[in-house]
């Protein structure tokens, strides 16, 4: 799974449906099945991540896969080895699945050309984060029953967000409408070609959307001159309860985390009854179990 761009609506539907079965497993007293017994998964995280790595690792363990965690620091990569050589060496140890996170867009596509293993993109730069897109869709589907006709606003740093890209691709395929909202310097060129609406008014987005997916603002974007200050950002693009009260009906609040409370989202919004942020986290494990099962299930050895 390199990105949602390669998946049809029917395939996404299958993954989301399978995720429901996986979530049932998570709700059992014994949260483990032998589905991927004998399958080895390496979590190749070459960029910092806690949430996604933990979520994948838990999903792998729930399915009884053997897991191996790899991070860039302290590895041969820090001694100058190329990413390709590192990956080829790991594959030579006979792994079946590589879950990879990397700061370079297209890096899983690059590895996929050189490796036999199944490759799952756990975030490549600002390109895609397909399992995040899926878990966001699953969370919204839980709430609304269907994604068709739903209007979702993505708020914040669209330019640097892989979450935004996978959300746009996935939601559009599933029949939802997408609005992107943020300062003009954080809206990438030509994004309207992906069938989204652009607004620079958070109030406008709030008036029209059913759900807000709020993206993290990174401090370094301010120092790069993309917007004047965090204070100004919060004033005009921070999601607060007062702003949300303008909506005719309560909006569902999503955030992929980690949150900057008081910047893009206030605590009373993050912790409100309309926030599904923690459900997103649970769904993340279920979605990743589904993806691993659907991609690697066939590789499992038959049960003894």
């Amino acid at each position: 799974m390199l990105g949602l761009a390669d998946y049809s609506a029917a395939e996404i539907q299958t993954i989301l449906d399978t995720s429901l079965q996986m979530r049932d497993i998570l709700n059992r007293p014994v949260k483990k099945v032998p589905t991927l017994r004998g399958v080895t998964v390496v979590n190749l995280f070459l960029e910092n991540s806690t949430r996604t790595r933990t979520s994948f690792e838990l999903a792998e363990k729930r399915l009884s896969a053997d897991t191996l965690n790899f991070s860039a620091s302290g590895s041969a990569l820090s001694k100058g080895e190329t990413m390709l050589d590192t990956a080829l060496n790991i594959e030579a140890m006979k792994v079946d699945v590589v879950v990879m996170r990397h700061k370079s867009p297209g890096s899983p596509h690059f590895l996929a050309r050189h490796l036999e293993s199944i490759i799952i993109n756990a975030g490549d730069g600002r390109h895609e984060h397909p399992t995040q897109g899926l878990l966001d869709m699953l969370t919204l589907r839980d709430k609304y029953g269907s994604l068709k006709g739903l209007r979702v606003a993505l708020v914040g740093d669209i330019l640097h967000s892989r979450v935004a890209m996978s959300n746009i691709i996935g939601l559009k395929k599933m029949g939802a409408e997408v609005i992107v909202c943020g300062p003009s310097t954080l809206i990438p060129r030509g994004i309207e070609s992906m069938g989204v609406e652009i607004t620079h008014s958070l109030d406008d987005a709030i008036r029209r959307a059913d759900a807000l997916n709020i993206l993290r603002i990174q401090l370094e974007r301010q120092t790069a001159g993309l917007f004047p200050s965090l204070r100004e950002y919060h004033k005009y693009f921070g999601v607060t309860r007062a702003r949300l009260e303008q909506a005719s009906a309560p909006l569902t609040i999503l955030h992929p985390g980690p949150m900057n409370r008081g910047v893009e989202i206030t605590s009373d919004v993050a912790d409100s009854e309309h926030s599904v942020i923690l459900q997103q986290v649970t769904n993340g494990v279920a979605v990743r179990m589904a993806v691993l099962y659907l991609l690697a299930g066939g590789r499992a050895e038959p049960s003894a």
Partner: protein, 436 residues
């Protein structure tokens, strides 16, 4: 055909050869006819119907012979990056691609910023039937601060200066360089890029960079520098050549400057005429170059400018990189592709069929580059030194990068089916004529 004419590493002497039955096309000198050419000791002899005694007959019926093609923008990598290319392998690639002359850029390590290094490069190229013209650095060490010893370098035969690979950042340094070079009859070649606007980018800033999550380089990063060059050229009266033009806005600025009589010239590469940024969607680093592949409107603007002469030079920006360097993540891999061995065939396959005449193509690939370097034009005429490109216009072939003579294989054209190919070159008293 004997094998002595097909050795790339040691081209044979053109002692006494009779090139029979080719269409000889030299439009600037009014020649376009099927004829025989007799070459003795590298010089064109009076035409005869039959081969003179002792001459080696090479049957070239169905072929074209043109004055030698010239590539105005080549990177030879030596000294410093001999794993990617050497002067020798670069010359062999040029010969394989049908070029009898190339101009190489100075962004080697160390850079070509003095007369000694210029002479050294030329010496290395001496065994080959390829004129290697050196474009020397504008500034010492390409650091953008102090001008190189321009007079001494011009005395060593150089007619152009460039900090290519990067622009001359300081407008003051650029203006001084243009003015000083103008005094010496030389010109500045500018890699047009506002590095602040392009910073961190790996491809064109566009719908595709957004979809792929790759940092973009906007077209105006190029055009702003073109505008600066136009103003500096007008102000100083000196000539500036704009390298590898890729953006619609740049084309418009150059066209307008020419209309006003400002001494601006421009070149275009095949990839900017044939490909768009959509090609990056597979994250294949063979589509990563600087300036990057642009959108369709830019491609069309470059083509129109190429046709009407606004961009008067066809060049490759041959930029060899080793497999190791190119086989990396897209944003990490270096910019650039090789071009010497596909350029002529791409032109024959794709330009002639799209409304460009052969004389116009030869204007862009033979005459204009030499004009810009103030070099004499080759002429297919009795008593002239033979400086020829031999072309089989009907030869159909598939681009196989592994078969390149270049040390590097970083091409976006691997697997392309092309029609027309250089069969050989004759120049500097040497000949290379290959069998397919």
């Amino acid at each position: 055909m004997t094998s002595k004419y097909s050795r790339f590493d040691k081209p044979a002497r053109a002692e006494n050869i009779f090139l029979q039955g080719a269409r000889v096309v030299d439009p600037r000198h009014g020649t376009d006819q099927v004829m025989n050419l007799h070459i003795r000791d590298g010089v064109l002899q009076p035409t005869t119907n039959d081969a003179p005694t002792g001459a080696e007959i090479i049957d070239l019926r169905g072929h074209w012979i043109t004055p030698g093609w010239f590539d105005l923008h080549v990177h030879l990598r030596e000294p410093g990056k001999e794993v990617a290319e050497t002067i020798a392998t670069g010359c062999m690639a040029a010969m394989n691609g049908g070029f009898t002359g190339i101009a190489c850029m100075p962004n080697t390590n160390p850079p070509l910023d003095n007369a000694a290094s210029v002479n050294w490069v030329r010496d290395q190229a001496r065994p080959f039937p390829v004129d290697v013209h050196i474009i020397a650095a504008v500034t010492r060490g390409r650091a953008g601060k102090e001008l190189v010893d321009m007079t001494e370098i011009v005395e060593a035969g150089v007619r152009a200066f460039s900090d290519d690979g990067s622009p001359v950042k300081s407008s003051a340094v650029l203006a001084n360089a243009v003015q000083y070079a103008n005094m010496l009859g030389a010109r500045i070649f500018e890699h047009a890029e506002d590095t602040y606007l392009a910073e961190g980018g790996s491809m064109n800033e566009s719908e595709w960079s957004t979809r792929l999550g790759i940092s973009g380089m906007p077209t105006i990063a190029e055009a702003i520098d073109v505008a600066r060059c136009v103003l500096i050229s007008e102000f100083t009266g000196g000539a500036i050549h704009i390298c590898h033009v890729s953006a619609r806005e740049s084309v418009e600025l150059i066209r307008e400057a020419k209309r006003k009589g400002i001494k601006i010239t421009g070149e275009v590469c095949p990839h900017h005429l044939l490909l768009t940024d959509e090609a990056c969607k597979t994250f294949d680093t063979n589509f990563k170059m600087n300036p990057p592949l642009r959108g369709e409107a830019d491609r069309q603007a470059c083509w129109d400018a190429f046709l009407d002469g606004t961009l008067e030079v066809y060049c490759t920006d041959h930029a060899p990189h080793s497999w190791e360097d190119k086989t990396q993540e897209f944003d990490v891999a270096p910019f650039g592709i090789v071009g010497l061995e596909t350029s002529l065939s791409l032109a024959l396959t794709h330009f002639l069929s799209k409304g460009m005449s052969l004389p116009t193509l030869l204007d862009r690939a033979v005459y204009s580059p030499r004009e810009i370097l103030s070099q004499p034009q080759p002429r297919v005429a009795v008593g002239e030194p033979a400086n020829l490109t031999i072309i089989d216009p009907a030869h159909r072939w598939t681009v196989k990068p592994d078969e390149f003579k270049s040390l590097s294989h970083n091409t976006p054209y691997g697997g392309w089916e092309l029609t027309g190919r250089a069969r050989g070159v004759v120049h500097r008293g040497m000949a290379l004529i290959q069998t397919f």
